[in-house]
């Protein structure tokens, strides 16, 4: 009953920065089963596993427009500002980005530090 509409995984998406590994079911700019949404970059996409709706999708990541690394959309790995940039590339070219992005990157940096400290204290 479900198998025909289920999107078979086409391979594994692996973030080259954090190592997150998740099966993906589509690469491109028009996720299957959705007619009114397009993506502004070539994305690795998975059917949203947390929704029963079959046309809900989840973007996993894409290539950094500068270094071409495959990165996930997680805030520790990349950001989107009209194009995808991995955080290392953003930091390298920080001055090319507007103030808002710069602040955001600094905030993320601080957050991820406390986050990892928390994790370390637990184990």
């Amino acid at each position: 009953m479900a198998s025909s509409s289920e999107q078979e995984p086409r391979g594994m998406f692996e973030c080259q920065l954090c190592g997150l590994t998740v099966p993906y079911s589509y690469v491109g700019q028009k996720p299957p089963n959705t007619r009114t949404v397009v993506l502004l970059e070539e994305c690795y996409v998975l059917k949203d596993p947390f929704s029963s709706d079959k046309d809900k999708f989840l973007i996993l990541g894409s290539q950094c427009s500068l270094c071409s690394k495959l990165v996930c959309v997680g805030p520790e790995c990349s950001l989107f500002y009209s194009k995808r940039f991995c955080l290392p590339c953003v930091r390298e070219n920080l001055s090319a980005f507007p103030q808002e992005i710069r602040q955001d990157v600094e905030k993320r940096h601080a957050l991820s530090k406390t986050g990892s400290r928390k994790l370390a204290s637990r184990t």
């Binding site: 009953m1 009114t36 070219n93 507007p98």
Partner: protein, 1147 residues
Amino acid sequence: MASSRRAEGRGRWDWGCPETRSRLEEVFFGNQDIIRRGSEDCRRFWAFFERLQTFQKPKPGPAAKQLAEGPRCPALAGLPATYDPRYRINLALLSGEGEPGLGARGQLPRDQLAEFRRAVLHYLDFGQKQSFGKLAKLQRERAALPVARYRGHLLQALREHQVVVVAGDTGCGKSTQVPQYLLAAGFSHVACTQPRRIACISLAKRVGFESLNQYGSQVGYQIRFESTRSPATGIVFLTEGLLLRQIQREPGLPQYQVLIVDEVHERHLHSDFLLGVLRRLLPARPDLKLVLMSATINISLFSSYFSCAPVVQVPGRLFPISVIYQPIAKEEVPTSRAERLDPRPFLRVLQAIDHKYPPEERGDLLVFLSGMAEIGAVLEAFQPYAAHTKRWVVLPLHSALSIADQDKVFDMPPPGVRKCILSTNIAETSVTIDGVRFVLDSGKVKEMSFDPKAKLQRLQEFWISRASAEQRKGRAGRTGPGVCYRLYAESDYDAFAPYPVPEIQRVALDALVLQMKSMGLGDPRGFPFIEPPPAASLETAIVYLRDQGALDASEHLTPIGTLLSQLPVDVVIGKILILGCMFDLVEPVLTMAAALSVQSPFVRSAQSNLECGTARKPLESDHGDPFTLLNAFNAWVQVKSDRSANSRKWCRRRGLEEHRMYEIANLRQQFKGLLQDHGLLAEARAVPGDSYSRQQRHRQRRELYQLKRQHEEGEGRKRKVLRLEALDGGSSSGEDAEASGSQAGGGAHRMDIQDVKFKLRHDVDQLQAAASSAQDLSRDQLALLKLVLGRGLYPQLAAPDQFNSCRKDSDQFFHTQSKQGAVLHPTCVFANNPDLLQGGQAEAQEKSLDRRDGPSGQHQLLAFVSLLETNKPYLVNCVRLPALQALLLFSRSLDTNGDCSCLVADGWLQLQLEGSEGATQLLSAALRLRARWEEALDHQLARQAQPRGEDGAAAAPKTERKAAAALGRDLLDFMRSKVSYSIHRLTALEAQNLYVGPQTITAAPQLPGLFGEAALTPNETKGGYTVTSFLTYNCLMSDADLYSDCLRTFWSCPHCGLYMPFTPLERMSHESSCPAAPDKDAHGEQEGGGPARGGGCLGLPGQPIRPSCGATSAQLSAHLLSLARGQRGGGGGRQPPGVHSAAGLPL
């Protein structure tokens, strides 16, 4: 509120205006769009939208800031010069494209449309971030589990070996991760067994979620009544019992590539057996992989059982736990079994915790006690303390609690208050409660033990094993460092057994042996169990199955045994089902069999509640517990079929656990299917019904499905906060929980998901029809039902003690053949109405006060479903039966004296009948009925063994049904026969000197051809003659045969007119073969409503006996006759003239 917010002309723009919203939804949230009108998603969007509005309002407008520096590389050249949050969204929306020019209805200004579009994009982006965050968190958590580091090691080992053992303690993640590792590594068709059904469901859910397959079909479960399995399923979680059934059907298990047997250290009967079966299977399936998962207990046992399989050992994630030994002082140890447990040592631990740890430091207490009584005693002592200090909420936890009460242990205590859970060993492995910091271990456990000699299950208290003690301790260290108080000395601990006794060594093995036989595993005595059960238990099981007719003398499965092995129920219950099919009693029998196979729906604590008692009264049946259960279920179904009625409330009023009712409904449906599958029951044809009602039903189902889906989407019981005040003073739970529940759930529209599932699974109208037909059972049907139950339950019979009528209600004693002094369970209807069982005794009392077991026609026996020993041996689920008739029809051994006035059933109950004529008539009638019943059963079983017809329905042929109906009527007549008799339980001495012993006469008397050729054999141990497999004639030490000759009186046959002296035996023999008898085909004639329906089949003295046809019964009576002669000949008695001619009756 919405009405006040109208769009006010062209002036102010109002996003809240319903018309505006509706227009926007029309444009953006159509059927093709990602958000659809009216959906949950749409509702969430508007909530998001409102938040977005308030968040954006104070914004001063885009501040255009030029970038200070020019871009360094060409890829950065195209970056927007002015920052806008919309550049951060990698989605674009096509909906509403081109709409702004929307002519006549174009009330949506361009700016607002653009703003709305941005809002939708933000919402979608927000959704992406949320889902991705969830996904990333999930992956992080999985990677952080201790087992994650052993993934490669495990997969490597499994590639090189057929069997691998994974050993790791609770919390290491093996149960959820190993199946996923296998699937990710390319294995498919993975089955993972669990000892408990509930674990199958929760693991399937968890693993489905973790493997991002929550809404897919890759991960499923399969339990007794439910399956979420499909061809796409890669991992299925199922119970051990179910996998065994699959092996039974397909011994090679071709449907699986990998089997994971989880929790093998728990050593359940099924899991031990499964391991044995798999060990045999593996050589035949070299491609099949087997993973055993265990706690770090006795790992070498499992590894060596599978020729030194490699072990992957995963350390658990446990925080340090300090152990404090506080052995109980001598004066506080209960001296006798009856004495209650002294709660003082437990209370001191509570005080110590309060003393030592400030209330702000959270952490709950888990107390391990041996049983419900102990929990009750400690609860009683803790509650005043908790009420006084306001620092504790005390909750019991054991399997007899209602589901809702069990669930409370997962709720949160209010701040500054600790939860104290008083639990049986259920919390040792089965139930995991978070937040436990303190463990208090009594060191005791109550476990079932099985006494093969008495075939008695006993619930006894034992010291736990060291492994259990460690398991209990570990519960304190799951979320942080913990403390474990042990109410025993370290030296006690050292003296504990290393491991708990495996289940196979302490339970009855009937079902196991039956299953082994049906799987063709040969002699169970030689089966290579991982640790063999006691030989005596196996022997008892084999003898029991032989007694029950499931195995023949050479221990092969009989047809009925084959059938029983396929019914997933107790042997006796299976027998009842099969027997019930014959007499058109299927509906009530299905219900009873199901009700007797689940835990009692009657809530224990409601026992003392007066209101409950009154409300329950109309459900009670004076025939016995199975009938009360039948009434309760049927009444419940009636409530269910009334759409306006609230069945939950109805149950609560009567102290019934509704969950059990659902289980009964499911189980009876499963039984029905099984009986249909085996051709014992014709499949019901779908009632055609008109198209309107069909549509109606269809619509109802659609609504129900929708409700179910809604429930599943909003799933997850939210943890409630426990209320302090509701919990002290014994907690009246029911009403309270309901009231607070509906508050939390938000009012009247709280859906009962159980009800929805029930109505989806069952055709309520059909159930209701069955229930109301059962409510109108006639007296005859009731009596027949009792007979079916009695025959199924035999030899589980108990006789009332002869002095019961002089005792108080609560002091009634009963005796089984092997166990004396059993008592009734307090819920039993006879416990409160003992006079129901004393018909005979009361009558006798009037006649002679000194003999309570004196002559009467009313003596009753109890047939019971189980005998359970706790502090006393209890008879559980009893039916009363008329003693004499039951014994004549069921006894495996019946011994008589010369004139059959004295009978001994199964060597323990002696019946002294008044008047040998009535006695012999009754006996011969019983012989015929038994033969006919056997024959009818054989037909029935032969039919089920045949391949099914094309139409699938294997209805009994008409003649067979007629014969069964006639048999039913004759059985009822037999039950009604009135003979006065006394009943007496033989003393050991009497039993020893019961038989005359082997006689010197060797030649059995042989009558000329007339009565068949069967030769009578003298019984070589008891003396007398073997008449049938169960009847031995004239073997009792008795002086009655002195008078046997005097019993011959002149009699004229009403059919052929023969007139001559007969003994009663001779007379019956003549009648059964008299060629002039009008109803050679008795059943057929009676069917037509003949005049003499039941015309005293076994009549009252003086009435002619109406023999039923069939060579068997005629032969049996002939045997009796010839026996009577033989005895005379051997005994050298005086023979009146003319007797021989009686044998030469005209043909």
